[in-house]
């Protein structure tokens, strides 16, 4: 039974931790309709600033605030390049992400890697007493999971309040239709800039917690994150759509946006975990799977899940298939 436990425990933690990055991407992609490639860089930026400040001896809580802010600045820069400098959405993301590589390298002290292994972090007191809570089928790290759950509840409360407020509504409208929002008298420019900033701040938050979990920040931490986050996001959306058959769930409610991020990331890593075992133990002798075949199969499984769960509409109802 240990294998099921290992996969579930790992996937739940990944869903809660890396799910933050998916949530950030969800905000920029779905609310602001901005396919934001900055995330690869801002994720690393959060981790890099946090670990450097921690090594410099700063209090972890203050370090967290500063590094989340740094992630926000990266997003603001992307938003600025797009709305003010009129550079395309994809290109402005790529530009900031590329620039961040060099900046992250400098922040990490001109080295690719910085360890925070022995330093006190925000989650180190939890990790100290954290034990695996065993049930017949599952065993989970109860401490870390409760910590993340509380974090998510706080985020959900804040997000719901802002999302439903009048101010939040103008932000959403600016993301929905820039031109009409401008005509109605909201400055859509600033709203998009701040929105992308907040999205990247959340991605940076994800990077900060992952760095604490694995005990170091690495220059290549965020590379390929956009692909994982996008796949998780799509899976999550399909799951929520699938659940809509049984209950009336509003896809764009704040709670479903959060659930999409967590559940999507969870299922993505669940699938990867199962596939990993299939290839590692060579359970499908016919194919003679190698560890390097994993990427092909993870792509195939994502396609299959999305096709199976979409109810006959393979195409997304919203025009953008991103």
């Amino acid at each position: 039974m240990s294998e099921i436990r290992a996969i579930l425990d790992s996937s739940i933690l990944q869903g809660l931790g890396w799910g933050l990055a998916t949530f950030g991407l969800n905000i920029s992609l779905r609310i602001f309709r901005f396919p934001d490639l900055t995330v690869d860089g801002s994720f690393t930026l959060g981790a890099a600033v946090f670990s450097t400040l921690l090594v410099a001896g700063l209090n972890p809580a203050i370090a967290l605030v500063i590094s989340v802010f740094a992630g926000g600045v990266a997003g603001i820069l992307t938003g600025f390049l797009n709305t003010v400098a009129k550079i395309g959405k994809l290109l402005s993301g790529i530009l900031v992400m590329t620039a961040l590589y060099s900046i992250n390298f400098r922040i990490l002290g001109n080295s690719p890697n910085q360890k925070i292994l022995d330093l006190p972090t925000l989650i180190s007191p939890i990790e100290k007493w954290d034990t695996v809570f065993s049930l017949p089928l599952i065993g989970v790290h109860i401490g870390l999971i409760s910590f993340y759950t509380i974090l998510w509840i706080i985020i959900a409360i804040f997000f719901s309040i802002v999302y439903k407020s009048e101010l939040g509504l103008t932000f959403r409208y600016a993301g929905f239709d820039r031109h009409r929002a401008d005509k109605m008298g909201f400055k859509s420019k600033y709203r998009i800039i701040i929105g992308i900033g907040v999205a990247n701040a959340i991605v940076a938050l994800s990077g900060i917690f992952i760095a604490q979990e694995i005990g170091f920040a690495d220059i290549n931490m965020g590379s390929g994150l956009i692909i994982t986050a996008l796949a998780s996001l799509l899976i999550g959306e399909q799951v929520i759509k699938f659940l809509r058959k049984f209950r009336n769930i509003f896809l764009l409610s704040p709670i479903s946006i959060i659930l999409i991020s967590i559940i999507g990331t969870f299922i993505y890593y669940l699938i990867i975990g199962v596939l990993l075992r299939l290839s590692a133990y060579n359970l499908i002798p016919l194919f003679n799977l190698q560890p390097t075949d994993l990427k092909l199969f993870s792509a195939l499984i994502v396609i299959i899940v999305i096709l199976l769960m979409s109810k006959r509409q393979i195409f997304m109802p919203r025009e953008e298939l991103l």
Partner: protein, 324 residues
């Protein structure tokens, strides 16, 4: 309707079935120990280490079913996920290959499972105290050291005209950065001068080599994964301009570099497996000091020697372990 039923029943069923399959296969049989190897990405050096470990473990009497290999395929999020799964999955010993995997493994395992790191050039990044040889709880391992001094001396010996040595490296690889710093301090004592340039990816190696070629007498490639992957670009430029290329790994010499004093990575993997064996036989990881494996494996490429008209003296010839 049928399709709906299919979705409702089939999907959870498939997931459950595959999990069930996993359990059948991975149940521990009796007292057999389970060894988990995790590597960062597939490339020649990492693959030979992995092969070396498995080869030696099989020779030592372990069975193939006891050894499981994971590969993160170069993605950090997978490193994190897989490390967590390995720590939870009842392995008796874990062997992370490369620095980022080892860092994550040491942190997540937290002393609960023995960890034998391999291919970590700078073990201080894992919390190993090199001066006292003290390692974190339940951690030990082996580092590969490229012998930069001997390599630079080899260049001077085989190619006495060399004064300016061109090095291309990727600054985001910490072991490479350390190597370049070492070369920079060593070079003057050997009568050489270092001319450096950095790249961020394999595709930048060719332009970097073109940029550097007019300022140097000879190219030297250190232990840099990015540049080693793009070594053919340097060799191409070097052939055009008749300036020789020296390297520090076997693969580059196979590709056409003149010579290298390399670490024999297969043997390095075998050494790793021997540490693993000691621990599985009951020794505590903390009783085994972290080990160093210094490269001493001289390889030459005879076609390249001819092309650049370099003659090998007898003494050097005696040390040659392999010729391509």
């Amino acid at each position: 309707m049928i399709k709906h039923l299919f979705i409702k029943i089939e999907l959870p069923f498939i997931l459950l079935l595959s999990m069930f399959l996993l359990n059948l296969s991975s149940c521990k049989k009796g007292t057999e120990k389970k060894v988990g190897i995790m590597t960062f990405v597939s490339h020649e050096v990492l693959n030979s280490i992995e092969q070396g470990i498995i080869e030696r473990l099989l020779e030592l009497g372990y069975k193939k079913e006891q050894i499981v290999v994971y590969n993160a395929n170069g993605e950090m999020d997978k490193v994190h996920a897989f490390v967590k799964e390995m720590v939870n999955a009842n392995f008796d010993i874990l062997i992370p290959i490369t620095t980022p995997v080892s860092q994550a493994m040491v942190k997540v395992a937290g002393g609960k499972i023995p960890v034998v790191y391999s291919f970590v050039s700078d073990p201080t990044s894992l919390g190993v105290d090199l001066s006292s040889g003290k390692t974190p709880l339940n951690v030990t391992g082996i580092s590969d050291i490229i012998n930069y001094k001997e390599n630079l001396k080899l260049i001077k010996r085989l190619f006495p005209n060399a004064k300016k040595v061109g090095m291309i490296y990727n600054a985001s690889e910490s072991q490479s950065l350390m190597g370049v710093e070492e070369c920079r301090t060593l070079a003057p004592s050997i009568g050489l001068k270092l001319v450096e340039t950095t790249v961020a990816s394999t595709s930048e190696v060719l332009p970097a080599a073109r940029l550097l070629v007019s300022k140097v007498d000879v190219f030297y490639v250190g232990g840099d994964n990015t540049v080693v992957s793009g070594i053919t670009a340097i060799i191409k430029v070097a052939r055009e301009t008749k300036k020789p290329v020296f390297a520090s790994d076997i693969g580059s010499v196979k590709q056409g570099a003149v010579a290298a004093i390399s670490v024999n990575y297969k043997d390095f993997g075998r050494k790793t497996a021997e540490i693993v064996d000691q621990i599985l036989k009951g020794k505590s990881p903390n009783d085994i000091p972290p080990q160093k494996y210094i490269g001493d494996y001289l390889v030459i490429n005879s076609a390249a020697l001819n092309f650049w008209g370099i003659k090998i003296d007898e003494e050097t010839q005696k040390q040659v372990k392999e010729t391509y």
